[in-house]
Subunit: 353 residues, 2 copies
């Protein structure tokens, strides 16, 4: 395995150029020669080193992937989707995670760039205001964003605004009037912003008053007293919570249980992400679903399109359809008209596609 093209050439009795051709353009070499070279390759268990090729300035067949974390299955699923296509097409993946940290984002991109990746698939905290992406636009490599919901850059996501809007409308159709949105500490991300905007629009459209998102500490064992106060006190307490992601929704559900609030009788819960695991909860978690594997695969295809020179079709944001999973965590409030709830079937906004 430490054998090089030189060894093969010597073993076969030809020049390294012929060996190279035998590998990369078999039809240009004499069949007899070809056979001998192949024999030598087998005998020496030779595998051409990508390093040589890469250095030679050709394609490195390397794609960088930058994700916030793998602790959230959303990203693990995306990566799974990417990996599927990548390995089928003979590309290698170089992975870096950022923990939502801007400095680590910068470092990851620089490292990958230095490694001469041919393309980059990434999820950043906030795509619109990201100077690094401007740099990438300026002098490569080509990239595609995942889950960053922006019109200004090549990306694959769902329409977060619309998705949240649909979800909250569904809560309203179930008779809820006091609906609060809960967000993780990462309220600064572009998707969190857009989900809140969707929430606000749905509320206003129904003549209700949206509230700012309430920040919840993700890693805490129980819900903070200040948060609980918002949820359980008085006649004005919310009857439904829209959580900006499923992991958060699960933590909140546990917190509520510990606070002796029943889901969904005392509080309805709507998550965002559609994690498969949510369905296994009791009651099964209602959630707005994103097709993560599909997002990963679509991001890959767009990246390949861009690398192939197809800038026109692949330069803008692509919104994949979201789904609405109506689990057991949503109760209807007495007297509500449910007629409004049906008929809204989760289409992406066509102006974004």
């Amino acid at each position: 395995m430490t054998s090089t093209i030189k060894d093969v050439a010597a073993h076969a009795g030809f020049s390294i150029a012929t060996v190279s051709r035998a590998i990369n353009a078999p039809h240009t070499v004499n069949p007899v020669t070809l056979a001998k070279v192949r024999e030598a390759i087998d005998a020496l268990k030779f595998r051409p080193s990508p390093l040589g090729r890469q250095l030679r300035g050709e394609r490195t067949r390397l794609i960088g992937v930058v994700l916030p974390t793998l602790a959230n299955p959303v990203f693990a699923e995306c990566l799974q989707g990417i990996d599927e296509l990548a390995s089928a097409q003979g590309f290698r993946l170089m992975l870096m995670t950022t923990q939502y940290d801007a400095q680590r984002e910068r470092h990851a991109i620089e490292t990958l760039r230095a490694q001469r990746v041919e393309g980059l698939i990434l999820t950043v905290a906030d795509a619109d205001t990201h100077p690094l992406l401007d740099e990438l636009d300026a002098d490569g490599p080509l990239y595609v964003l995942m889950h960053n919901d922006t019109k200004r850059r090549p990306s694959v996501s769902v329409d977060n605004h619309r998705a949240a809007f649909d979800g909250v409308r569904m809560l309203i159709a179930h008779g809820h009037r006091r609906i609060l949105m809960l967000a993780g500490t990462l309220a600064a991300s572009d998707r969190a912003r857009q989900r809140h905007a969707g929430y606000a629009q749905a509320m206003q459209q129904a003549g209700l008053t949206p509230a700012p998102a309430l920040e919840v500490d993700f890693n805490a064992e129980a819900l903070a007293p200040s948060v609980l106060a918002h949820l359980s006190t008085g006649p004005a307490r919310p009857t439904a919570l829209f959580c900006s992601n499923d992991l958060l929704a699960m933590v909140v559900m546990r917190g509520l249980r510990e606070a002796r609030l029943r889901v969904p009788q005392d509080m309805s819960i709507l998550g965002f992400d559609g994690l498969a695991m949510g369905e296994l909860l009791a009651p099964p978690l209602a959630s707005i679903g994103t097709p993560n594997g599909e997002i990963g695969r679509a991001a890959w295809q767009r990246l390949m399109a861009r690398i192939g020179g197809d800038y026109a079709g692949a330069s803008l944001g692509l919104a994949l359809p979201h789904t609405l999973r109506e689990g057991g965590t949503i109760a209807a409030i007495a007297g509500a008209s449910l007629s409004e709830a049906s008929g809204q079937r989760c289409m992406p906004d066509p102006t974004r596609a």
Copy 2:
């Protein structure tokens, strides 16, 4: 960014060798020169290409990671642990997944090897009988296994036999006598075998008869009729199920619910993995926990030790301590003595450490 060491040299008015030294051994160059070179580096936004270094035969600073899948949080967590240390130490990770497929395992290892990774961290289906690992032992690169529980090779895991033994003993201490083990379709893995052996030993030691593991289709929506028949019929039906992993346990819980069997009143459930998510279920899933992040980090450290030439300490299997999470999915059977349950505190077998 497409600038090379040559460009910098030209810009600064020195030779490429001086530039190289300025980067790799700053103290050996004249401070004034150094300043000029650095200025040029900044001006051109030059970052040395790892490719050149790698080809030069130095360290590639590349580590390959081979995992069955990222859909199971167990592996995502391991990867997270690895990534933590890797990025802190300036290594890059190349990731490949195998979907438990032997051919893909082979392909992944060959690809990574061709890329000249300095080391490999992997989880394979069955470590003991794996010819590829013998090849790796023979001519590198160095590797460490994760979650493969074998004495014969460098690995980091828990003591699966002992862990299953502890867990099943706990079930027995709760008064259960008819305990069945359920396994995913991957019953062929080394860990599944050892978990079953642990189950069998605990049963026998209590004078009970172990049964072969019952295979369950992971991806099915509901439990197969044939499986349900095993679980729900007659007076000899099991009162407790030991599931070979948490994902399986969750699927089984849903299946039981649909079959109108209550957990834990009608059936107790014990999982394996200790996924954080299991605690959010209702009732919270009892499970044997593996410290996945820690396993990833330990694997990294062993690999680094081996690369550093420390073969003695890092060449054998390391078993990290498992934990026993007693969730709400386990009910006591009337008349059981619980005295036996306490006192067993999840230590790894000292002969393995």
